[in-house]
C-alpha cells in the first residue's frame, strides 16, 4: 500500500470512529440530559447554595456567608467550648447523624440475613413461587399504607404487644411513641418491607451456583451447614456486595417511614439526616443551611461507597 492509500484508509477509519462515537453519544444523550437537568445541575447548585444564606425569595437576596452554614450545623462554637460530646448529644446534626448511622448499621445486616434466609428456604421448597410472591408483596405496596398499618400493629394494645405479652413478657409500651423503641419500629418496617426485594436478588444468585461445586462438596463429605458456609456463601459474595452497597446508600436516605410513623419524634429520637434537611429547607425556609447538611450527607455516602468499592476485589468470585 502506498502512503496515500494508508492515509485514505486511516481517514476512513477515523471517520467511521467519529461516526460510531456520535451514535454512541446519541444513545446516551436522553439519559444524560435527564440526569444533567434533574440531578447534576441541582447538586452543583446545592454545593454553591451551601455557602449562601437564602430564604428562597428573590434571588437577589442571596447573601454569601462562606462556611458559616457549616459552622452553624456543626455547632463549632459550642463544640469548641464544651467538647465533642456536645455535638453528638445536643446539636441537631449530631443527633441526626447518630440516629442515621445506628439505623443503617442495624438495618443493613438484619435485612441481608433475613433476605438470605428467605432465599435459602424458598429456593427448593414446594409452593416456592407462591411464597416468593408473598414476601415480595410488601416491596410493591404503598409505603404510606404499610406504615399506617404497622403504626396500628405497634400500638400499646396492638397485636404485636399482645403477642409479646402472650409469651409472658410484660411489655406495655407504644412502640412509635417510646423514645428507645421508636427507631426499632422504623427498623422493623424497613427490614420487613425490603427483605422480599433482596430475597429475589439472592434467589437469582443461588440459581447461578454451579451444581458441580455442591456435588463435589457432598462427595468430599461436607454436611449441609458446611456446604452453605464454604460453597454457597462465597459464591454469593458479589450479590452480597451489591446488596450492601445499595442498602447502605438507601438507608442513609431514609425519610418516608420516619415521616409517616414518628415524624422524627418522640423528641429527637428518630430524627434522621434527610428529615433534618427537609425541616431546615421547607419548614424553616433556610436553603443555605439545608444545602450544607445535604453536603454532609453527600460526603458520607461518597466515602462509604468509595470504601466499599475499594474492597470490591475481596468480594469478587475469582
Amino acid at each position: 500500500m502506498s502512503q496515500a492509500e494508508v492515509r485514505k484508509v486511516r481517514y476512513k477509519m477515523g471517520k467511521l470512529g467519529r461516526k460510531n462515537t456520535l451514535i454512541a453519544y446519541s444513545f446516551l444523550a436522553p439519559n444524560f440530559i435527564g440526569f444533567a437537568v434533574f440531578t447534576l445541575v441541582p447538586v452543583l447548585c446545592a454545593i454553591a447554595l451551601s455557602l449562601f444564606e437564602w430564604n428562597g425569595g428573590d434571588i437577589s437576596k442571596l447573601k454569601f456567608v462562606g462556611l458559616d452554614n457549616y459552622a452553624t450545623i456543626f455547632a463549632t462554637k459550642k463544640v469548641a467550648e464544651k467538647g465533642i460530646g456536645y455535638f453528638f448529644n445536643r446539636a441537631d446534626l449530631g443527633i441526626a447523624l447518630k440516629n442515621t448511622v445506628y439505623y443503617t448499621v442495624v438495618t443493613v445486616p438484619l435485612t441481608i440475613v433475613c433476605a438470605l434466609a428467605l432465599a435459602m428456604v424458598l429456593n427448593k421448597i414446594k409452593g416456592a413461587v407462591f411464597f416468593r410472591t408473598v414476601f415480595f408483596f410488601p416491596y410493591v405496596s404503598s409505603m404510606v399504607a404499610i406504615c399506617v398499618c404497622w403504626s396500628f400493629m405497634l400500638m400499646k394494645d396492638g397485636p404485636i404487644n399482645q403477642m409479646i405479652m402472650a409469651l409472658g413478657i410484660n411489655f406495655n409500651k407504644s412502640w412509635t411513641a417510646d423514645g428507645s423503641m421508636a427507631i426499632w419500629s422504623i427498623i422493623l418496617v424497613s427490614v420487613w418491607r425490603n427483605m422480599g426485594y433482596y430475597m429475589v436478588l439472592y434467589l437469582a444468585a443461588l440459581q447461578g451456583i454451579p451444581r458441580e461445586l455442591m456435588e463435589a462438596a457432598t462427595v468430599d463429605g461436607a454436611n449441609k451447614w458446611k456446604q452453605f458456609l464454604h460453597v454457597t456463601l462465597p459464591q454469593l459474595k458479589p450479590t452480597t456486595f451489591f446488596v450492601s452497597v445499595m442498602m447502605v446508600i438507601s438507608c442513609f436516605k431514609i425519610y418516608d417511614v420516619v415521616a409517616i410513623m414518628t415524624d422524627g419524634g418522640p423528641g429527637r429520637s428518630t430524627k434522621m439526616l434527610v428529615t433534618y434537611i427537609y425541616d431546615e429547607a421547607f419548614v424553616k425556609v433556610r436553603y443555605g443551611q439545608a444545602s450544607a447538611i445535604s453536603m454532609v450527607l453527600l460526603v458520607i455516602v461518597l466515602l462509604v461507597t468509595i470504601i466499599q468499592f475499594s474492597s470490591e476485589k475481596k468480594f469478587s468470585n475469582d
Binding site: 459550642k78 396500628f152 400500638m155 411513641a177 422524627g264 418522640p266 423528641g267 425541616d279 421547607f282
Partner: protein, 410 residues
Amino acid sequence: MKKLLAVLLAAMMLVLAIPALAEGNQVLTVVTWDATTTPYLIAQKEAFEASHPGVTIEYVDVASQDYAVKTTTMLEGGDTSDVYMIKEIDNLINWQAQGFAAPLDTTGYDMSGFVGTEKNYAVDGVQYAIPFRSDFWVLFYNKDLFEAAGVELPNNDMTWDQYVELAKKMTDKEKGIYGTHYHTWLSAVVNWEVCDGETTLADGNYDGLSYFYGIYQDLEDYGACMSYADLKASGLHYSAAFANGNIAMLPMGYWYVSTLIGYNKDGTCNFNWGITAVPHMYGMDAGSSFGNLTGAMINAKSEKKDLAWEYVSWLGGVEGAKATASVGARPAWVSEEVAAAMSSVEGFPADENSKAALLPSHVSMEWPVAEKVSDIKTIVNEEHSLIMAREVTIEEGIEEMNERVAELFQ
C-alpha cells in the same frame, strides 16, 4: 382540502374566542386549605359572588397539614394565584421577607373592628394581610353525658383545679367514658400559660408549663383522658374522638363549632353539646383565652391586584364577617351585629352560657411574632412530645426547653 382547512381554522378561532366573548366574568384564584369541607369557605364564596356579579372565586385546595410547605413552594415557583390565605402568622412574616406579599394600601379602610389584631399582619407599619377569622380556645362539653351522670354542667368561671375535679367525676371506666380529651398538640395541653397576656411561648422560660403538664399527667394516670402515646400512634383526630360521644369535655379552638354543627346536621354525631370559656388559673380573670388569626394576602405576582383587594377587604369587613359567622365560624371583625349572627346560627347551642362564651375577656396570640420563633417552636414541640410520652420527667423536659432555647440566642 384547502376549504376544509379554512373551515376548521375558523371553527377553532371561534371556539378560542368564546371565553373572550364572555369577558366580564373574572376569575379570582384563592389558595386555601380544605376548601370542599370547610363550611365558612363555601359561605364566603357564595356571598361574595352574589354581591359581585361577574366575579368567580376559584379555590386552589391544599392539604391542611402541608399548607405552609406547599404554599411556600408554590410561591417560590412563581405561582400567580391572586390571593393566599394565611394559616399561621409566621408564614406571612416569612412571605413578606421573601417578597411574595403585596403591600396593601389601607387608607380609608376601616380596621377598627379587628380590635388591634390586624397589627400581627403588619411589618414596619405596612399592612400585608387582612385578618378574616380569629379563633380562640373554648371548652366543649357533651351535655347529654353530664345530664346522664347528674353532674352540674361546666361554666364560664372555672379554675383548672375545678376542671380536673369535674373531669375525674365524669370519668366512668365501665362505660368507657372519658372525663376530658387532650389532642396531641402543644397548644391543647399547655398553651394556657399565655392567657395572662404577658407570658409568651417565645420568652425562653418554660417553668410555668409544669403546672399544666402536671394536670395532664394526673388526668392520664386517673384514666380520665386517652393516653398521648395511643393518640399519637393511632392518629385519632380530636373531631372524631369527641363526635364518638364518650368524651365529656374537650378544650379546643372555636373552629370546631362549625364542624360540630355540620356533624349534627349530617348525623355524624347526635348529642347535645355546649361551649364555655376555658378554665383559668387561680386568681386570674375568667374568660381569658388564647387564639390564632387567619387572614388573606395578595400575591405580589397577581395580575388582578385591584380585584384581589376588593375581595380581601370584603372578606375582613362586616359583610365578609357575616358570611363567615353564618356557618358558625368566628370572624376577626368583632361587633354586636356579628356576635348576633354567630349565636343565631342554626345548630349553635341555645343556652346563655354558650352565648356568653362568645365574648372572651382577653385573647392572647398562641405564638407571638418573635425572632427565631420557628426554631423555638421546633424545640418546644420536640420536648413536649418527650414529656407527653413520659420519656423524660416534666422537670427534665422543661429544663431542656429552657436550655435549648437559651442556646439559640447565645
